[in-house]
Subunit: 383 residues, 2 copies
Amino acid sequence: MESKSCAARSTAVTKDRPDATFRSDAADLVTQLSPTPKTKPDVVDFGTVFTDHMLTVEWNANEGWQSPLIRPFGNLSLHPACSALHYGVQLFEGLKVYRGNDGRLRLFRPILNMSRMAKSAERACLPAFDQSELLECIRRLIEIDQDWVPHSDSAGLYIRPTFIGTEPSLGVRKPAHALLYVILCHAGSYFDTEVRALSLWADPKYTRAWKGGTGDCKMGGNYGGTLFAQYEAGSCGCQQVLWLYGEDHQITEAGTMNIFLHWINEDGDEELATPPLDGIILPGVTRLSILELTKKWEEVKVSERYVTMGQLCSALQQQRLMEMFGSGTACRICPVGSVVYQGKHLELPCQEKHSLSSRIATELADIQVSRLTRARTIATSTF
Amino acid sequence: MESKSCAARSTAVTKDRPDATFRSDAADLVTQLSPTPKTKPDVVDFGTVFTDHMLTVEWNANEGWQSPLIRPFGNLSLHPACSALHYGVQLFEGLKVYRGNDGRLRLFRPILNMSRMAKSAERACLPAFDQSELLECIRRLIEIDQDWVPHSDSAGLYIRPTFIGTEPSLGVRKPAHALLYVILCHAGSYFDTEVRALSLWADPKYTRAWKGGTGDCKMGGNYGGTLFAQYEAGSCGCQQVLWLYGEDHQITEAGTMNIFLHWINEDGDEELATPPLDGIILPGVTRLSILELTKKWEEVKVSERYVTMGQLCSALQQQRLMEMFGSGTACRICPVGSVVYQGKHLELPCQEKHSLSSRIATELADIQVSRLTRARTIATSTF
């Protein structure tokens, strides 16, 4: 057992502390190229086809971080008692790399993912890591598999950093062994159907996250626990769950997306609203980008606030709702077409064009593939 | 994607449905013995030393359950995108096998574990399995590693059935591939110290489980999310967390144990109380056994009811608390010596002998190693 407290782990530390940094100098990053590169498929489902290589970095409490390794994509060999498989000591991130019109590859705001990953690691009692060194390793991995990044105006290659406890024993305790790895995959189409607007099922009997829990981190347990509700949504003819919270049925998230409402609020103001980061909401990178973009436009009031199902129903009845949409790295911007709630089928306004969501989606895609001039872009990393 | 709804998975099904049963006839159970049996250690920590063999059974949506395999204990080869590692699609069970005074091996109420495992599987959207066939495979595994069962009046060999989603893709959906496996290990001492009475830290800022969540199932995410609070408890000089719920700070569980209070309640009745199974409490096998035993004794009122921290504090002040104790398969019966709550250090009465908890512990141990006559035992499986 380590003597260091968890709290100390939240800080990125310098290289002279052996237990909390990658040794990611070119001399230390070991690269083993795949002798058998795969054929790249055209159209596939999200997250089903992986590139030729992966990054792995091992850690243990005695020796700290080991040298990062880029190696041919392949299975992991894990102890059957490891804490990732028994106690959900696991977390992940999701980001994309895009091929710009100028041919260069750009990661969309990767620092935000690294920083969120560090927060998830602290919450999961996994060790601290140097965020910029991990990002450099990811950049090297993408460089090797760069032919996999789509030649596309909108599609990117999906990057999945993953961090798991590999402690080979069954005591419920902080792991003394861990593995950080990164895999890359075709992003494809996230939802099964090509229907543009999602149908959501809102039932308070299932709760995605709660105060004092882990809903604001990307820990695995937040997701596996939602499958059952997702399939109940399916049996009610809906595609995803609209997650509610509390006795007043606050709207929190939709499926694995953050949620936005564009409406005329109770005070008569045109408003773009999304729930505040109060511990049960995932701090999405797309969510933050939408807030920053729309605030900069200074056209509508932009709020982080609670909205209840009752308020949504009133707005619908009084024709004050312009649209509702989800946001996420995998699904991008996804308008909501209908909500099933308390036996009622609520049809939501959903315009194909000229909506705020389509304008946001276009602007984000423009930034991602660098169609906009540098001055107007959100910071992106370039290779 | 499968077309079957989740709801159909809760029912144990017959052998003519290829996707939902083990083929565990002697002809189908393949056994590969280890060529290098390990030396059996004397005293070890809980869950750190494993026996020579393990059971694995694979499932996929197209072909159903494959033949069970008993093979030398060793690492699992897992796809790096598998849903057990990303989305916490995982669950486990914990039970023990004891060597009786008559030399026979007995599992303590294994049917209850199989049934709870089936419920966890339904909640995790993992496939249904035949409970009695799985139990028969476990029995065969123990038979092979029977020399590992301690010659002890009280200690047993710990059995860890585990069930994980092995879907090799990143979409958040019901897995079409899964692996059920069982490992056996030395139970050792569950807590680090040999102190008889636990110190608990009760702070409402962390919540173990929530209504509408998965707290009543043995899914991994329920455990990894608690590590951070456990270490905060440690930094406050306590061994475990006393989990509270709601604005009235209801007492729910302690660490990974169910919790019991033996007290004179508000109405002046001597009572043994434990929280009811209302969705946030794990339905423990030891918990149920304690309820059944003490009800049969007809000496104190036995209640499944809510008790708040306020009620506990009043009882302490008025000297109405006899004792508080946790229960679980790994830790057995564990008296609580103190609770840190709202800046106060509450000392709890804790008798070494003649307490209700020590009487329950003795009776349970007697049943487990079959010191009692058959007529007085709770049903146990014998080999």
